[in-house]
């Protein structure tokens, strides 16, 4: 009875008609095949040329726990996470109550009407879209597994009708996905039509908010940051990679592995004894026994002159601490990809955060400082991964790229990745056999250049270049020392070298607005939410300039920017205001003028967080 009312009557909060500007959320049970249906929808919208984002909010679990997927469409390109949902696809009975509660007043709930909703789940101010998904699948599919899996494609079909997604595009995507499996292809196509036709027959389609094709994605791709990072490592010329599996960085190495199999494998002219084609792999990927070993392997390979990297997350960074200090002190290049997740400890492995900033900046005991890169999207993951190898070899030191789960594991719409074939890697100061002939003696830590970098030699070249790497106290000749002056001479140069690197790191991105009197500083994935928020704030009369930091040590531009304003907001995704702390340590900014906006619950930042965080403090 209640359902009938809700379905037939419009409420006062009905949404005005909106094209290409809405957010939907899908509540699923993980391990039931919903992820592919959700990705299908997102890819179809992308192919319609509309700015879109998909955020996978998933549990640290294989099967059976609640998982959500959010799709936001925004014609202006603001695709940070939205907190208002126009439509909820409620596919998990266990989370019905909270999911239905989250829909905005006047919004819609799509659910499997094979079983009626409990009366307490009926809200008078939302519309219910009832699609008997289970019944449709039982009637049309015979295999038990298929009946479960096809429910997902069936709701996707209904959404195609409700949101005016291009059916032909979705259908083509299914054909592409199941190219090699005719049976699955047919089942999926059938399920798609079942949902689509049911929606069209029973409801007025499309809904007031829906899609219309645009052409904003012509030079864009849909890619996650971990794939882009792996591509960067491939293009940088990395030959050795060592890692230990850890969410959310695992797909960096999974992708690197498949890319290497495809692009780094060379067929040999001679077949083997059985006549099979022999090949050689121009790479070696080591799944290490732990992260301690992974970073050790990276150092060993870099010592030999290979470009080597590891990918990890916070717990791995903690374990790598000791050898990061060894690399810093002995001046061995290393590239570490840290895809940050929620800490401390095991924390929430499938949730996002920016909690490793301080741990990475000063990783290891004693006086250590590292070079950090902060990508904000998959595009920068690709570019910075390449730059990380150049910087590591130029400055003979570890470079940590701090990606984030939100960037690494979610699909982003970004400009197509470009490559300049004229690129020549910067291998830094390395003396070869010819160079060594011209000098009488080689001393590892002497003869510094303008950036305080000293030349190194590689094993296997010339006995004159031989030196002994030691993590123990050493002087500029590379000899063991316990003499204060000799020890300090080396560590002082290391401090100067670290500082000199700031001119070689990616410069901050600064966006200014007319009449702005406050500054906003941030890093990484906060970027997209902040840019949207600042646009909205500007419309309501609060203009703020925005600086996004992309490297550490900080550029002098950061100091100058902070100097300009009485008040600066530092927006970041951790509890302890780690970026703010680093700014107070490493710039001359007065601590009092830095205010924090901190969002660290594990889900990606939204513009609403930023607006609320700033306006609440301006009112104070």
């Amino acid at each position: 009875m209640a359902l009938d009312i809700a379905r037939s009557e419009r409420t006062e909060n009905d949404l005005p008609s909106r094209v290409n500007d809405f957010a939907i959320k899908l509540g699923n049970v993980n391990g039931t095949g919903s992820a592919s249906a959700n990705t299908l929808l997102m890819r179809a919208i992308f192919r319609m040329g509309i700015p879109v984002s998909g955020k996978n909010l998933f549990p640290s679990n294989i099967q059976g726990l609640p998982t959500w997927y959010e799709i936001r469409v925004n014609k202006s390109g603001y695709t940070a996470r939205a907190l208002d949902y126009d439509l909820m696809v409620a596919m998990n009975a266990k989370t019905y109550a909270e999911d239905i509660h989250e829909v905005r007043s006047g919004g819609y709930v799509l659910h499997d009407s094979t079983w009626p909703l409990e009366p307490e789940l009926i809200r008078a101010d939302v519309h219910y879209l009832e699609v008997p998904l289970t019944t449709l699948c039982i009637d049309n599919f015979s295999a038990a597994r298929e009946r479960v899996l096809m429910k997902n494609v069936c709701y996707a079909g209904a959404l195609v009708a409700f949101l005016a997604i291009d059916l032909e595009i979705v259908s083509a995507l299914l054909d592409e996905t199941f190219q090699r499996n005719a049976r699955l292809r047919e089942s999926n196509q059938l399920a798609l039509r079942l949902g689509y036709e049911y929606a069209r027959e029973h409801y007025e389609c499309p809904l007031p908010f829906h899609l219309e094709a645009m052409d904003s994605n012509n030079d864009k791709i849909l890619v996650d940051g971990n794939t882009a990072t792996a591509l960067g490592c491939l293009y940088a010329g990395a030959t050795v990679a060592a890692w230990y599996p850890i969410t959310p960085s695992t797909s960096v190495m999974d992708n690197f592995t498949s890319l290497c199999r495809r692009y780094r494998r060379e067929a040999l002219p001679e077949p083997d004894l059985n006549g099979a084609v022999q090949y050689q792999n121009n790479y070696l990927i080591l799944q290490a026994e732990d992260e301690l070993a992974a970073i050790g392997m990276v150092l060993g390979a870099n010592w030999m002159g290979a470009r080597a990297f590891t990918s990890t997350s916070g717990p791995g960074i903690s374990l790598m601490g000791e050898l990061l200090g060894l690399a810093y002190y002995t001046e061995i290049p290393a590239v570490i990809i840290d895809v940050q997740r929620t800490g401390p400890s095991t924390g929430m492995p499938t949730r996002t955060q920016q909690g490793d900033i301080l741990a990475c900046a000063y990783a290891s005991h004693g006086d250590t400082k590292h070079l950090l890169l902060f990508p904000a999207n998959p595009n920068e993951c690709f570019d910075f991964a390449v730059r990380a190898f150049d910087l590591a070899e130029r400055f003979q030191t570890p470079v940590i790229m701090l990606s984030e789960l939100d960037i690494g594991m979610n699909d982003w719409v970004v400009p197509t990745l470009a490559w300049d074939d004229a690129f020549v890697p910067d291998r830094g100061r390395v003396l070869d056999a010819t160079d060594l002939k011209e000098i009488s003696h080689f001393f590892r830590y002497a003869d510094e250049d303008a950036d305080f970098v000293t030349p190194r030699t590689l094993p296997g070249v010339d006995p004159k270049g031989a030196y002994f790497i030691r993590g123990s106290g050493h002087n500029k000749f590379g000899d063991y020392t316990e003499i204060p002056d000799q020890y300090q001479e080396v560590v002082d140069r290391l401090a100067k070298k670290h500082a000199a690197a700031k001119d070689h790191l990616p410069e901050p991105i600064v966006e200014r607005r007319v009449g702005s009197r406050i500054g906003v500083v941030s890093v990484g994935s906060c970027d997209i939410a902040i840019r949207e928020a600042l646009e909205l704030l500007d419309e309501s009369g609060i203009a703020a300039d925005f600086l996004r930091i992309r490297g550490f040590p900080f550029s002098t531009v950061v100091d100058e920017f902070l100097d300009e304003y009485e008040l600066c907001f530092v927006i970041e995704q951790n509890r302890d205001a780690q970026l703010r702390s680093l700014l107070t340590i490493e710039t001359s900014v007065a601590k009092e003028k830095l205010r924090s906006v901190l969002v660290y619950g594990g889900f990606p930042l939204s513009a609403k967080h930023v607006i609320d965080g700033i306006t609440s403090q301006l009112e104070d």
Partner: protein, 349 residues
């Protein structure tokens, strides 16, 4: 702890090897270990082995972790690159280095603390990967640099310098190595160069992981109250000599083939070594295990080349890497280029 450069006086009468180098070319800095330390005997055996095998110094990479044993790579082959890394992590550095440049000869020096406690996991996994390297474990049963704690190879009921008995049974690296598939396992005594040098040369020639457990007496801490020449005894008769270490003679012994010999260590304790016989078959893992176990029960330390399997692929063969090194591949063969990047992104739409 500082190393001291050895004066290099060219002496023409030194014998030259196949590549025209003398044994002096394989030496390193002066040792700063205690006089009489077994580790120095091992370093000198390594020098002799490399000289005899005529390996070019620049083609040698020597690595170690932390501890007395790990200081020794400074004391051999000054023309080789060396890496004195972090405690327990040497095998990981060696793995990455070998992955990048397989054309070098990798020599890892470790101790019982470095290998059997903090670095046990890495040792085990280097064995599993059949990493092509010589891994010498200089085994003295104690932590020397931190002054005499038991290591994981200390025999049960042996006493520390302070007289406390060791109550936890030891890890036998030979049996452990065999059990997880090591392809070359040997044991030797630092004082028996006649046996040690051939074993080192065999290990250096093995393609794969060559694990050599070398019993190497500690003059300083493998000591107990019963010894008349104990550290304690000496200190009580010296004033202000808190750092004093009694100089001792290197212990030398030749273990006869297929026979046992008692060797008295600096502590006064006696170790009974048995060298395997001529008809011993080091290729049959089952009989090797049984042989070791039988002699373990009679408290005899079996020495010699105990097990070898030359036909197991090493890390590189398993991974189909090129015969030359990965570091020698030019960048243009590593970077797929802009066309491929454009092409592969078609699947990102």
């Amino acid at each position: 702890m500082a190393s001291i450069t050895k004066p290099m006086i060219p002496l023409l009468h030194f014998e030259k090897n196949e590549i025209g180098l003398t044994v002096r070319d394989y030496e390193g800095a002066m040792s700063t270990l205690c006089a009489g330390c077994g580790h120095d005997s091992i370093s000198s055996a390594i020098v002799q082995s490399l000289f005899e095998l005529a390996i070019a110094p620049e083609m040698i990479a020597k690595l170690s972790g932390i501890g007395c044993s790990s200081k020794t790579p400074t004391y051999f082959v000054r023309g080789a690159h060396g890496f004195n890394s972090a405690h327990g992590r040497m095998a990981t550095i060696a793995t990455g280095a070998n992955a990048a440049n397989r054309t070098l000869k990798f020599i890892g020096i470790s101790g019982d603390g470095d290998s059997l406690s903090i670095g046990l996991g890495h040792l085990a996994h280097a064995i599993r990967r059949n990493l092509d390297m010589l891994y010498v474990m200089e085994n003295n049963g104690v932590y020397g640099l931190t002054k005499g704690q038991f290591s994981a190879s200390a025999d049960i009921n042996s006493t520390s310098k302070r007289g406390e008995p060791n109550i936890i049974p030891p890890i036998d690296v030979v049996q452990m190595g065999l059990s997880i598939g090591a392809t070359f396992v040997a044991r030797a005594f630092s004082g028996d160069k006649e046996q040690l040098i051939p074993i080192l040369k065999a290990g250096l020639s093995h393609r794969g992981f060559a694990l050599i457990d070398v019993i190497s007496p500690c003059v300083q801490f493998n000591d107990h109250e019963g010894s008349t020449k104990s550290y304690q005894f000496t200190r009580e008769h010296e004033t202000q000599a808190t750092d004093y270490v009694a100089p001792r003679e290197e212990i030398l012994a030749t273990i006869p083939q297929d026979d046992a010999i008692n060797v008295t260590m600096h502590s006064g304790s006696v170790m009974r070594f048995r060298s395997v016989s001529d008809d011993y078959d080091p290729t049959d893992r089952n009989s090797v295990m049984a042989y070791l176990e039988a002699h373990h029960r009679t408290n005899e330390i079996v020495t010699g080349l105990l097990y070898v399997d030359a036909n197991v692929p090493d890390l590189h063969e398993l991974n189909h890497t090129p015969d030359s090194s990965l570091v020698s591949i030019p960048y243009d063969r590593l970077c797929p280029g802009s066309e491929i990047l454009a092409d592969l992104q078609k699947s990102f739409r």
